[in-house]
């Protein structure tokens, strides 16, 4: 996070000079790793692993021998190079609790909303759809997850404004593919470790290579972000992998939050990975009475809208290797759950109200806890069977309709019955200290029997909604307080978190009876046949009349109409 994405490119020349210290590494490749701990107000702690590799251009020819990098995995980079991908992000996330954590999202800002997501920029060309499909399928195999589109229509192409390119590629197309049904599982950890040069054997990755511990954590997220070499980056590319989770510090029976590396990972500080340029343990301190033993180096920096104290340890330092680092709150015998937890400056939640099996209304609540107005885009991706009613969309503040707050609505409806997606971007102004409610009524289309997925009764997930803040400021490396003059320490705009995600939603679809096809065909056809038969009979048969005999008498005569005519 601190080695935030853009800065890597800006400081790339510096890294390359740094890398000269270690002559055994070929080209300009460099590897950085860090472990960040961030205690949360509710007695839990975020743990974030970050692994970052800087690599040089595989060369203009792109031939395979030249692509064998020393630190970068060919399995990851070759499909990207072969398919002309300039940027790619894959992430799997299992959710986040905005209310308990005082933060609007995960510690890693690039993590998507719930489920899996793959997005990226591809250089333009006629075959861009095929190339995207090839990349998603290749990397899906790498992550043991189906990342490819089930149909071409699943690809979303108008989220380029929400996820702008980090390098200045020209003529590139953005693709996004959401897999809200995907989950993080043990199958995802092994391939993730195999992509790392340290392979989970040494350095910080040794702490991660423990599925029994890692998968007991809550709110997990893993992902990779690859920036392929571009003309502006002097042939330097970068890929970063992260893994995040939330652990409980308070013992089950209550007590203090005292913890340590050993307590969290059941391991001491592992031996360093020889190729790593830096290997850092970082602690973000929220309370003044939090202590760590042994002491690390302290500094202050802007993180997510606040100036926070950061304590760092160099894990390549021989003094800490094989040892332990303890974290505790001075004077805390038993953790008291706080009565109130400061809410994040801006939160967004989504629910379905007015729910019937065939219709509903998305109710999106955006809470602005700041004393100033914010500008943002709220975006949604729906599968084709969710049909929104744009003429009935309302923006409410304090139960009052405020159409003026919705500046612009960009609506790209799906094209049923083809598998496709609806995308929506609401350009909103969120008034200061207010609760903005966005109501979007929708209907669910009736799907064909063959279009239902096998687990139809469970329902189908809708991807997370994204609130993109348009007025954020960069997290400057040095707090303004130290630059003199301004003593600002809190400014929720000064954050790298540009996107806030809602939860996923499980919607059930009105289903037909899957055992019925033959019955329906037979019964409907019977009604049709009955009608046809009766009509045919009425239209083609002769009509005449008979005299119905009164009781006891025989019918006297029976005359045909045509017979009378001839008479």
């Amino acid at each position: 996070m601190l080695l935030s994405s853009l800065s890597i490119l800006i400081f790339a020349p510096i890294y390359s000079t740094v890398s000269k210290k270690t002559p055994q590494i070929s080209h300009d490749d460099a590897f950085y790793e860090s472990l960040t701990l961030h205690p949360l107000p509710d007695g839990r702690m975020s743990v974030l692993f970050e692994f970052e590799t800087i690599f040089s251009s595989p060369g203009a020819s792109g031939s395979i021998p030249q692509s064998h990098h020393s630190l970068t995995p060919p399995a990851l980079l070759l499909p990207l190079a072969a398919n002309n991908v300039s940027e790619l992000t894959i992430s799997f996330t299992s959710g986040w609790d905005q209310g308990r954590s005082s933060a609007a999202g995960l510690l890693n800002f690039e993590s998507s909303g719930g489920g899996g997501e793959i997005r990226g920029w591809l250089k333009d060309g006629n075959d861009v759809e095929q190339r995207w499909s090839a990349v998603t399928n290749a990397l899906g195999g790498l992550f043991c997850a189906g990342l490819g589109p089930k149909d071409v229509g699943d690809n979303v192409r108008d989220f380029g404004g929400i996820y702008p390119p980090k390098a200045d590629f020209e003529n590139a197309t953005h693709f996004l593919l959401s897999h809200p049904e995907s989950h993080l599982c043990t199958e995802n950890l092994t391939p993730f470790l195999s992509l790392l040069p340290s392979k989970g054997l040494s350095g910080i990755s040794a702490l991660l290579a423990q599925p029994g511990i890692i998968f007991s954590w809550a709110s997990q997220s893993e992902g990779i972000e690859v920036l392929m070499p571009s003309p502006s980056s002097n042939g330097i590319g970068r890929w970063k992998g992260w893994w995040e989770g939330v652990i409980d510090l308070v013992p089950e029976k209550g007590g203090s939050r005292r913890t340590s590396i050993w307590k969290i990972f059941n391991k001491h500080i592992p031996k360093p990975f020889a190729e790593a340029q830096t290997s850092v343990l970082r602690l973000i301190v929220e309370d003044d009475d939090m202590r760590a033993e042994p002491h690390g180096t302290e500094r202050e920096d802007w993180i997510d809208g606040k100036v926070r104290t950061i304590v760092e340890w160099d894990l390549q330092d021989q003094k800490v290797i094989g040892g332990d680092i303890e974290f505790f709150w001075e004077g805390e015998n038993s953790f008291q759950y706080p009565r109130t937890i400061d809410p994040p400056p801006i939160t967004v939640t989504r629910t379905v109200v007015d729910k019937s099996a065939s219709d509903g209304t998305f109710k999106i609540i955006i809470l602005n806890n700041d004393g100033y107005e914010r500008r943002a885009i709220y975006s949604e991706i729906w599968p084709w069977w969710v049909k929104g009613w744009m003429s009935e969309v309302y923006v409410l503040v304090a139960e009052e309709k405020r159409p003026g707050l919705l500046e612009q609505l960009s609506y790209n409806p799906s094209t049923p019955p083809k598998i496709s997606t609806t995308t929506l971007h609401f350009h909103l102004t969120i008034p200061a200290s207010s609760k903005l409610v966005l109501r979007i009524p929708f209907s669910k289309l009736t799907l064909k029997y063959t279009e239902h997925r096998p687990d139809a009764e469970r329902g189908i997930e809708i991807p997370s909604g994204v609130l993109t803040l348009l007025d954020t400021l960069p997290e400057s490396r040095t707090p303004t307080a130290k630059n003199g003059g301004d003593s600002e320490t809190v400014n929720s705009r000064r954050t790298g978190r540009k996107r806030i995600y809602t939860n996923r939603l499980l919607l059930d679809v009105p289903t037909p009876d899957f055992s019925m096809p033959y019955n329906v065909i037979i019964m409907s056809s019977t009604v049709m046949a009955v009608f046809f038969g009766l009509m045919q009979g009425a239209l083609t048969r002769k009509w005449g009349w008979v005299e119905i005999a009164p009781a006891g008498k025989k019918a006297k005569n029976q005359i045909d109409v045509d017979h009378i005519k001839s008479e």
Partner: protein, 439 residues
């Protein structure tokens, strides 16, 4: 004295027309929540006729986007333009007044049809026709739901009325218009051309070829207008949906569940079967009922309203309204009570089973399908019954003309059809369908 005049006015066709319109307007403005709830009933409006979709389409169109780009809007571009520029769909008051007036216009057209068909000038009969149409719950509810079915009905009735009066140009223009907005009235071109082909007292006959040519020209004109309004994307999204049945939202028809459950590789074949099933009756009905094209139109309307791809109760209202103009046919029906009670039964069953499946989520699709089967079977049998009644009447007339002229002359106190039925009953005669074929 005063009350007598009032009563006479109230039982006149004009009186009941005004009363029905006032009731509609008072329901629109008195209980708008009811009207909004009715708008969403799948029995009253399909995605192709629902006001909610129309409003959505007009909303998107007004924002400068093409509503036909996504699967949101299936109405004709003519409606899109009309409800954007002339009666804005966003105005509740204007649309409410428009729909109330549309129904009144339909009723007037029915009276015109009756006048053209019968020499009977009894205002009581006109009163009955207007009352039966305006207070038919299907018409009333469909109007309150602001379903565009009612507009289609009014245009079609206008076309039939003008054709019955022998005004070929007006009839053809209206028929072209309604075949643009609802597609299926296209099948009424042959019987309407036959009707125009007949000599009337006021006008000479017009040739079928000429009328067909005018129809094609006017149709091309409307198509050009559509292209002006919405480019070319409207074809697949309005006519295409009617033909291909890509939207499977439940309605009262026989198609939606059939094509929900249909295997993909048979879909095209059965689409062909279902569409041809509508088409196949045109020629036989026109040939068999060539002596009474108006009756052929009525039978054809009945077939379409039962077997079209997206039917609604409003389509049945049109047919029921037309039936009011044929009292002689109605008196020959075999099972009118059965038909009526099953309609009553389905009008309870449809909303009940729909809510079980789609509102509370406790039932499944078979519930609503069962109700639509009952409705479809009943409507089918009713059409057959009407056709049979018409043919029975034909036999009675022929036989009476040949054998019973004297007896009929002695019964001058009743109307024509009543007289005929009366004499037949006393004779103990009964019309039957022989097992032998026509030829």
């Amino acid at each position: 004295m005063q009350s007598n005049r009032l009563r006479r006015y109230a039982t006149s066709p004009q009186g009941v027309l005004i009363a029905a319109t006032v009731i509609r307007l008072s329901l629109f403005f008195g209980v708008p929540s009811l009207c909004h709830a009715l708008e969403r009933r799948p029995e009253l409006s399909t995605p192709l006729t629902s006001f909610r979709s129309l409003h959505e389409g007009a909303f998107i169109y007004a924002r400068g986007s093409n509503p036909y780009d996504g699967g949101v809007f299936y109405h004709s571009p003519l409606y899109l333009a009309y409800f954007t520029y002339i009666v804005p769909a966003s105005s509740y008051a204007l649309t409410a007044i428009f729909w109330a007036l549309i129904d009144a216009a339909s009723a007037l057209m029915l009276v015109k049809i009756w006048k053209a068909r019968s020499k009977d000038r009894d205002p009581r009969r006109e009163f009955l026709i207007v009352t039966l149409f305006m207070f038919n719950p299907y018409t009333l509810l469909s109007c309150l739901a602001r379903s565009t079915t009612n507009i289609d009905n009014a245009i079609l009735l206008g076309s039939i009325a003008l054709a019955a009066e022998g005004q070929s140009l007006g009839a053809t223009i209206l028929l072209a218009l309604v075949s643009h907005t609802a597609v299926y009235p296209l099948l009424l071109l042959p019987p309407i051309a036959m009707l125009l082909n007949r000599k009337t007292a006021r006008r000479p006959s017009t040739s079928v070829l000429r009328n067909a040519l005018i129809y094609i020209l006017i149709n091309a004109g409307f198509t050009g207008l559509n292209f002006l309004i919405a480019g070319q994307s409207w074809i697949g999204q309005s006519w295409g949906v009617v033909v291909n049945v890509t939207d499977l939202t439940p309605n009262v028809g026989m198609w939606w569940y059939f094509f929900t459950e249909m295997f993909d590789h048979f879909r095209t074949f059965f689409l062909g079967v279902f569409q041809l099933h509508n088409l196949i009756y045109v020629a036989p009905v026109c040939l068999r009922l060539s002596d009474d094209p108006l009756f052929a139109i009525m039978v054809q309307v009945g077939i379409i309203s039962t077997w079209k791809s997206y039917p609604a109760l409003g389509d049945m209202a049109l047919w029921a309204g037309l039936l009011g103009c044929f009292p002689d046919v109605v008196s020959n029906l075999r099972h009118p009570l059965f038909t009526l009670t099953v309609h009553l039964y389905t009008s309870i069953l449809l909303p009940l089973l729909h809510s079980l499946w789609l509102l509370t989520g406790t039932g499944n699709a078979n519930f609503f399908y069962a109700a639509t089967m009952v409705y479809g079977l009943n409507a089918s049998l009713a059409v057959v019954d009407v056709l049979g009644a018409g043919l029975r009447l034909q036999v009675k007339r022929k036989a009476a003309a040949a054998l019973l002229e004297d007896e009929l002359r002695t019964h001058t106190d009743q109307g024509e059809s009543g007289r005929l039925d009366d004499v037949w009953e006393r004779k103990g005669w009964s019309v039957v369908q022989f097992t032998g074929s026509l030829i």
